[in-house]
Subunit: 354 residues, 2 copies
Amino acid sequence: MPLQRLEQNPLIVPADVTPSRPDFRVVGVFNAGAARCGDEVVLLLRIAEAPRQIERDWLAAPIHDPQSGEIRVVRVRKDDPDVVFRDQRVFHYRGQFHLTSISHLRAARSRNAIRFAVDRQPALCAEGDLETYGIEDPRVTRIGDDYWITFKAVSPHGICTALAHTRDFRTFERHGVIFCPENLDVVIFPDRFAGGYAAWTRPVGNHGSLPEMWVAHSTDLRHWGAHRPVIAPRPGMWDAGRVGAGTVPVVTEAGWLAIYHGADANDRYCAGAILVDREDPGHVLARSPVPILEPDADYENEGFFGGVVFPGGSVADGDSNLLVYYGAADDKVCAARTTVEALLEHLGDGAGEC
Amino acid sequence: MPLQRLEQNPLIVPADVTPSRPDFRVVGVFNAGAARCGDEVVLLLRIAEAPRQIERDWLAAPIHDPQSGEIRVVRVRKDDPDVVFRDQRVFHYRGQFHLTSISHLRAARSRNAIRFAVDRQPALCAEGDLETYGIEDPRVTRIGDDYWITFKAVSPHGICTALAHTRDFRTFERHGVIFCPENLDVVIFPDRFAGGYAAWTRPVGNHGSLPEMWVAHSTDLRHWGAHRPVIAPRPGMWDAGRVGAGTVPVVTEAGWLAIYHGADANDRYCAGAILVDREDPGHVLARSPVPILEPDADYENEGFFGGVVFPGGSVADGDSNLLVYYGAADDKVCAARTTVEALLEHLGDGAGEC
């Protein structure tokens, strides 16, 4: 496989993270965005928390209250006839979906890109009525001295993508919702194109359309248009169920190279590579015929939601080496090494399979 | 009721429209945008067409082919076990939704706002792979000398909203997809706000969220951000199932006033009024407690899809009078008169019901 897991995996686990309040426990630290900032590598982590005390036979959903700014916990009996339990992440109560945890974003910092110190305080928390179920899965793109952060804003209104930016990962400025429901897994390109800035998005329709990766353009990163599909799930293949952008693309001689995730019909999440035109981020040149990383390690199959590797960011590590950070089993941060050359060689094998 | 149907209704019926090709028949002319242009009222009509010859026991879906630019017809037997027939508008075949008609946009022109001459040629037709199932439900907003047209672009990729503009309703310039799936019923405000241009949108998520009206902002009409919810369906009321913007808002002393549609759980579409803050199109001041128009007339209950009144545009008709154009039963254009005063008085009765 072109991706080689670090022997230090997992790099960060829930026990490494201080809960944001004493009555909560950390159930997951995963799906991090990544960037170099000064002489550090900064990961922007998704921290999922749940109430520490949940009575047997009960389900609990922590919900941000926009009025008070507090998190209140909704509890329902598992055997309540109005409850439909889907999996450990989600249940439905009276037709409304609920999450069993609520996520915030928090920074972790490292000098060697491997051993991280996790901040004791959140970087960004749920705010307002579009984030009552939390904020999730950040991606971080550096443009000049600014780091632009996209993240999922989750509430009964649906799943949107919001934008914030920072220069130091200590203070953050928010810029509202840039993609309305349903849209997630948004990754901004680090350079401008003829059509302005570009981002890969993951809209999902309500009429049987598949979870595809799209591209959108912007002149100011806050307003987006010129939406077009880029890649769709491929029936019968490893990414038959859904696809979504993962790492921020890096420019190569051959085009923009990135790592995306795909899931099959059983929600098994793998990682693949994608290469798009240098001038047109919507024009796909090549795409992994087989995964470059699949959930094989124990720490990828055992956890909050097993069978998941979910790439969220990468940093350059030497001239053409990449260190790719990924979420494992929805509760740990892991990393794998690769090189631009290895990814391009892998893509050369299946360049026809877009 | 504050809305009074014209006695000349229906104003335009399918027999008034020349098909775009000889082997097609017009099955609906409806859901028009409206604007004054020079000394004419122009309606931008949705024209739905189906193949003239459909064999008994067969279903046919006309589909735009982006490669050839032609419309090809997919035919399946009704008793094919892979067919799920939903209603006369839609069937599913092997999990994929299909429409039994394909729509284009066409202008109709009138000196008296009531008797219209329908162009013999389409104004805008399906183009590219996001419109293979056609384009639908235009809204027209005049800003300066430009008329900005939003419309649904429908394909297996989902339902998006595309943008075009014209100065004369004879030549049109397209500006791509401004809202990705799923988004429809987009109405642009005719004036700028502190946050730039504004539009009401109708995103629909995939996680049990309801079809709500949202607001978005733009600096150039082509790129949009700052998405926020505005109104949601109200359980137990006439708009319990879905809500969506209808006419372009008109400014009054009390705020921006518009007519929107709501449907109940049985897909019965009615019209109501909405009043929002003059400075903030996302801040609702009042909303119809009961419909201002419901499908009661025969021509609203009998047709391609009965039980529908669907407001799509209005024109000023005297100082504070409004002529509201609406689709009836998904196949005819109708109109009703009202006044700003009557709508505000109606809203005053239920101002608490937002």
